[in-house]
Amino acid sequence: MRLRVVLVVSFLLSFAAPSVAHAQSAKIRLEGDWVRIDPDGVGSFGGLSGVIPPAQLLPGVSAPAGRGGRGGRGAPPTSGSGGPNPEGVPYIVVAQPCSGGGPGRSNGALLVNPDSGGIHFIEHKDEVIFAGERGGVRHIYLDGRSHPNVWTPTPAGHSVGRYDGNILMVETTGFMPGMVPGGGVRTAETRLLERFEMLPDGNRLTVTYTWEDPKVYQKPHVYRYYFDRAPMVESKGTKVSYALEEWCDAGDPVEKQSIIPPKQIIK
């Protein structure tokens, strides 16, 4: 009897072993649609930036001219009033809307530190694609490749990653010089470590950014962004989410128009 038990158990385990291994690798999927959230309730984009701890730069290091990770439409001069503009006075005048394939919007730079646009992940065993609704794609290679020896710096750099349990760990180098949230700076030698970590229910994503560069920082510059799964919408009786397409036509004069405070009915 005991021999029979051992034999049957051994037989079944021979099938179970790979499945158990698969179960261990079966992870909470990062794949899908996400939107950045404001967990501290600061209530504004400026506030979101304000809660990022200031980078501790080495003496003599200063931010380069130009825009850094955020990118986006042609640098808009702001009204600078600090308060609400009076009726009819525009907040922003965009001289050159939709930077098109320029260095700000394109090439995934926006996805190094995403803004309010939706972001999307597709997970494949060899590569994770990280795409944004406001433009750009990052390629995160999981196939074991190294950073290239010869690399022309790009806005999004070169990323390689690996899974540590359910956490996607990504290392990026080869950035074009630019700014980093919290007053930081990046150069072609700067290394960014990103940790994409989800809560067990799979609905909250925390990205921990660690910028390292002994020529720039006194100590690694660390901060976090938080994301929720994109809201589902009802379509034909089913809840779905999907990637939107942000259309912007630089040739359309309307794109140059700004938000103009309307006449206030209630004073």
């Binding site: 009897m1 029979r4 038990v5 049957v8 158990v9 079944l12 385990l13 099938f15 179970a16 499945s19 158990v20 698969h22 179960a23 079966a26 999927r29 794949e31 899908g32 042609g74 050159q96 939709c98 930077s99 098109g100 394939g101 320029g102 260095p103 919007r105 394109s106 090439n107 999307h120 992940f121 597709i122 997970e123 494949h124 060899d126 590569e127 694609i129 795409a131 609704e133 433009g135 794609v137 390629h139 196939d143 290239p148 022309t152 790009t154 070169h158 919408v233 379509s235 034909k236 089913t238 779905v240 999907y242 990637a243 939107l244 397409e245 942000e246 259309w247 036509d249 630089a250 040739g251």
Partner: protein
């Protein structure tokens, strides 16, 4: 014996349960079309489209002018252009969608495999890529796209015609030659453009897995020299020669 049965049941659960954690594609053992893919000079089999007689030369010219505008102003380019963008495509097969990433500033395509119905017209904003859903039929991935924007992007369809908001595209993706070739057959139907469905085939060649997608070339709509180049007819005069008078 009772203990034996319990033990057997537990192990059986270990065998079966993880299977349910696999993606539907993994469970079905569908092919993986992921990789870097490139078109070569002999990769296209594109017959002439059978267009409606109402599509006059003037209408086709007007449409071509709109496509030129999209290029001039660095608009999003969309389908079908991004399937033949002049550079390799990165295709990755995930658990909910297959993404097709071009090396230009147009957004990637998502072929959703996690739903069988298109997003309701009531809520879907027509786009240059449309709404794509895909399913496996044996070794063939069949993708269907609707919800195209009729004006945005490059609308020209290989072989003739253009996409409109009434266009429907069915693509059939199939690996050939041990996975070294990806055949994609495109079939467009549109009651406002084609007399009969218009089909053509591209055969993409697989690039080495170590390929590194290049940074796409910038497109600056406010570059006046570029605008002049695109909007002016090419000069028939030979370029001025710098001849030294010795």
């Amino acid at each position: 014996m009772k203990r034996f049965c319990v033990l057997t049941s537990v192990i059986a659960c270990l065998v079966v349960l993880p299977t349910s954690a696999r993606t539907p594609q993994e469970q079905r053992g569908a092919p993986d079309i992921s990789g870097f893919w490139e078109l070569s000079f002999d990769s296209r089999n594109v017959p002439r489209a059978n267009l409606l007689p109402t599509l006059t030369r003037a209408k086709l010219d007007a449409r071509a002018k709109k496509d030129a505008y999209a290029i001039r102003w660095c608009n999003l380019l969309g389908v079908p252009f991004i399937m033949d963008p002049g550079r390799p495509l990165d295709i990755r097969q995930g658990s909910t969608a297959i993404i097709i990433v071009p090396e230009n500033s147009s957004p990637p395509r998502y072929l959703y495999t996690n739903r069988s119905a298109h997003i309701s017209e009531d809520i879907f904003d027509p786009s240059t890529n449309g709404d794509s859903i895909a399913r496996w039929e044996g070794d063939t991935l069949v993708a269907e796209t609707v919800g195209f924007h009729g004006e945005h992007g490059i609308t020209a369809i290989p072989g003739g015609g253009f996409r409109t908001e009434k266009s429907r595209l069915v693509e059939r993706y199939r690996l050939l030659k041990d996975g070294s070739i990806l055949s994609v057959t495109f079939t467009w139907t549109d009651p406002t453009v084609f007399r009969t469905p218009h089909s053509y085939e591209f055969r993409y060649q697989r690039l080495p897995a170590t390929y590194e997608p290049r940074q796409w070339l910038s497109c600056d709509p406010f570059d006046e020299d570029r605008a002049k180049f695109l909007e002016s007819p090419p000069s028939a005069k030979p370029a001025a020669r710098a001849v030294s008078k010795e």
